[in-house]
């Protein structure tokens, strides 16, 4: 009895195993792959979409490179340009400024040439127009065609420069600089 039951169970398991192998074989067969093969339109559409995306990305990258180059060029031009800078910036502090005011212009001419330059026959000439925001001190120059002027801000001007510098630094930091 037990022997027969065991035999039957074993036979059932073998049948189930054979059946499962047959099913797995059907599902893995080339016929199954053919029946469920991707249509050619799927290949074409996917390839086309990827190509479009790649073209779009290339255009975007080219645009980004161009924009970066333009920005670098603009910054370089700004640094190299001999034009006077905005007051309050670092460059502005280093660059001689001429403040023009229609009222009561002040003119200074060669107030104190260096004794050493006098001995070399170099005539130092400087001319200023001031509105009272700066104090201008002419300095000696090795080239007779060049005048050098040292500018000092008055108290009011210096306070304004500092305020502008602080604002500039704050906004630069916010921009991620």
């Amino acid at each position: 009895m037990n022997h027969d039951g065991t035999t039957n169970t074993t036979a059932e398991r073998e049948d189930a195993s054979d059946l499962q192998q047959w099913i797995d074989g059907l599902l893995r067969s080339s016929d199954a792959a053919e029946l469920e093969a991707a249509p050619a339109t799927t290949h074409a559409a996917a390839t086309s979409a990827i190509k479009q995306l790649r073209r779009y990305r290339k255009r975007r990258q080219a645009l980004a490179v161009f924009a970066s180059a333009a920005a670098i060029a603009a910054i370089a031009t700004w640094f190299i340009s001999p034009l006077p800078r905005r007051e309050g910036t670092e460059e502005g502090l280093k660059t001689p400024l001429v403040h023009r005011t229609p009222e009561a212009p002040t003119t200074i001419e060669n107030p104190s040439p260096s004794p050493s330059l006098q001995g070399r026959g170099i005539n130092v000439v400087a001319r200023f127009e001031s509105n009272g925001e700066t104090i201008a001190i002419p300095l000696a120059s090795d080239d007779p065609q060049v005048s050098i002027v040292q500018l000092y801000p008055t108290t009011t001007t210096e306070r304004r420069w500092r305020r502008e510098s602080t604002l500039y630094a704050r906004h630069s930091g916010q921009d991620g600089g």
Binding site: L27, A37, A46
Partner: protein, 168 residues
């Protein structure tokens, strides 16, 4: 890029067909999967595992319901259902058996269908299938066991007919 599409489009499509049971949705899901795969190809840690990676993307896209809004409900079983008129032999008989097996597979519940496809058709290990579906290996084993049993029950008559006929 073309290599990616050519090499894996069929596998992705078959899997998409299995989980959507609609050719139209399977095509959409395949295109979406390949496109997403290409966009995120930088995140692929193991290039050798690109097929598994794409199948996972397809699973997630389907799960997110990106294809759910479409109303196409044409079942693969309808498109491929065999006509068992009897008397067919050889290759035709084989193709009909295949079609019947695929139809039976598509009748399984979603999870069992996915697991059966990944393990049986894609021949992934149970661990990899679990990774694709983001479920435990135990859940994969359970679904596989249930799916196989259901498939055997559905196809036993055909199996007996085929082998009974051949034995005669």
């Amino acid at each position: 890029m073309e290599e990616l599409v050519a090499a894996h489009a069929d596998a992705v499509y078959r899997y998409a067909l299995r989980i959507t049971r609609s050719r139209q949705q399977a095509e959409d899901l395949t295109q979406e999967t390949l496109l997403r795969g290409w966009q995120r190809r930088g995140k692929l840690r193991e290039p050798a595992a690109v097929r598994v990676w794409l199948l996972r993307i397809a699973t997630n896209l389907h799960r997110d319901g990106l294809r759910a809004a479409r109303g196409d409900v044409q079942l693969v079983a309808e498109a491929t259902s065999p006509s068992f008129g009897g008397g067919v032999e050889g290759r035709m008989e084989q193709r009909e058996c295949v079609a019947r097996a695929l139809a039976a597979l598509d009748e399984l519940p979603q999870r069992q269908r996915q697991v059966m496809h990944l393990v049986t058709i894609e021949q992934l290990s149970q661990e990899t299938a679990a990774e694709v579906l983001e479920i435990s290996v135990e859940a994969v084993k359970a679904s596989l066991s249930l799916g196989r049993r259901a498939m055997r029950e559905k196809l036993k008559d055909i199996y007996d007919d085929v082998y009974g006929t051949r034995r005669d």
